[in-house]
Symmetry: C3
């Protein structure tokens, strides 16, 4: 917060938004990778350590998002439409929130590190978050539209794949898990992971609406 406030004095207003969004995007990509590590980690103490790293990133992200909204309130001139800044900041914040929520639930319910459905979901989340990061960073110089579009197509493709993995995993869960309480727990984790890919798609949609206006 104070660092960003300081920055806003020296940096032309337009650049403040890009810098904040890029930091958020980097955080989101890191969180995606850490979530994949959480799922695969067999040692539950080490798992807890990764989750505390995710928690720290989530807190930093909250502060960055808060700074974006503060800058939005302060500045009349913004690099792209105010409503798009609002939507983009919200959707990136949602990605971070749901990654953290998924990590907590995976730890809390002591998920088996060999659960292939969850591993696949975590891979798709990592890929989506990484492409969101790429697309956000390309907004600063809206020159290479093809590159942005490629990232957006990959995000949407991951979301579709996550839907299929979700459906298959839930089907298998109901068929193979006799304990209803276990069904509730695992289904909840799958749902939260699937929401992460939805939120990546939301971010992708906002980015698309930004580039349409500036095309």
């Amino acid at each position: 917060m104070s660092l960003n406030s300081l920055l806003s004095i020296f940096v032309p207003k337009n650049k403040v938004f890009y810098e904040l969004f890029e930091k958020v995007a980097d955080n989101v990509a890191k969180m995606g990778t850490l979530l994949k590590n959480v799922v695969a980690e067999p040692d539950f103490d080490k798992r807890a350590m990764i989750i505390s790293q995710i928690e720290d990133l989530e807190h930093t992200n909250d502060e960055l998002t808060h700074s974006i909204f503060t800058e939005l309130g302060r500045n009349f001139i913004t690099p792209f439409d105010r409503e798009d800044i609002h939507y983009l900041a919200s959707s990136l914040d949602d990605i971070a929130d749901y990654i953290y929520a998924a990590a907590k639930k995976i730890n809390f319910y002591r998920v088996n590190p060999n659960d292939t459905g969850m591993q696949k979901m975590a891979e798709l989340i990592e890929q989506s978050a990484h492409q969101v990061c790429i697309a956000v960073k390309l907004l600063r110089n809206m020159k290479d539209m093809r590159q942005i579009t490629e990232a957006l197509v990959k995000i949407n493709s991951s979301e579709n794949q996550a839907d299929d993995i979700f459906d298959m995993s839930i089907e298998r869960l109901f068929d193979t898990e006799p304990d209803a309480k276990e069904v509730i727990k695992k289904r909840e984790i799958y749902q939260v992971m699937e929401i992460v890919t939805d939120k990546c798609e939301d971010a992708s949609n906002v980015i698309e609406s930004i580039i349409i206006k500036y095309a």
Copy 2:
């Protein structure tokens, strides 16, 4: 997409939005009717065929919604407030998404075609979606406000009835279904069906806010 892009060259900008919204509204109404057919269909193969029709309509709808957002990015002049176009397109898209989600779950969990609670929910969804379609089409000539208002009142009434059916169905489910896994499955379907009527009400609220401004 390409058809709509082509259209936008020949048709005055204002009309593009009406045409896209009317196509979406027709799709949504069709999907409502097909969902009712899914619930009532005793033959599970035929059920799967109806669901693939719903899936096709949902994909078409995604493209139409995408076109609305593209046009919104391209055009400075719009027939009603930009934010209202955004909200209306989003809420109609949500109706289609949740109808498709409900249809998939009904098939996936092999719901009994004689489930009266679900039949009643499906009837309310069909009615709501039909009234949403009527209200959207009346936006082109905002002359007969009484007719639009009648449609909106019917949508809100269906939403209230769906709430009551939902509460009663869940109560009966907990009382009569001994298998917790079955409770989870059916409760999820009821929830998704109830959300469809909520989304119809969201669309109704946007339409109301549009007609207030142009009254």
Copy 3:
């Protein structure tokens, strides 16, 4: 509705919004207190009576929210940004909706009045709703920013506490409740109560974005 329409003739436009928001805020605070009473009430007939009071307040709130949107459609000049009025009205309406939903579920599932987790959640909701009411009322004379900020900090703190209570309660629920159907019921109530505190935080965020612009 008719009272508010009448009011809008005599009262300068700006004040209409403050008056409507203050009525909504009072309602929301009352509903928070009644929800705490619902949880603690051992007599299930008396519980039903409190819930019908909550229902009445929720209906009044719906009408007030509707009036805010109607005024927003009618007036070009508003005391703060149109989108902020929209978001604030929506988030306050959501608080009321989820308090009512929680109350109905507590009654419906015949929750034990001695459930300490739910009592603690209800206390946090009451406090949050009360601070939301204070913050909304301070918007009329945006002089004492410190007082508004204090209310917002308290709302965010309650939301964090509610998250912790939620996690602990769900952990205990899975550990101690052998009946999966009971797990489903209680988990749903905790979820809805936790959403109430989220919606209070949403309202808090909108209020913050309003005061930043007018600081």
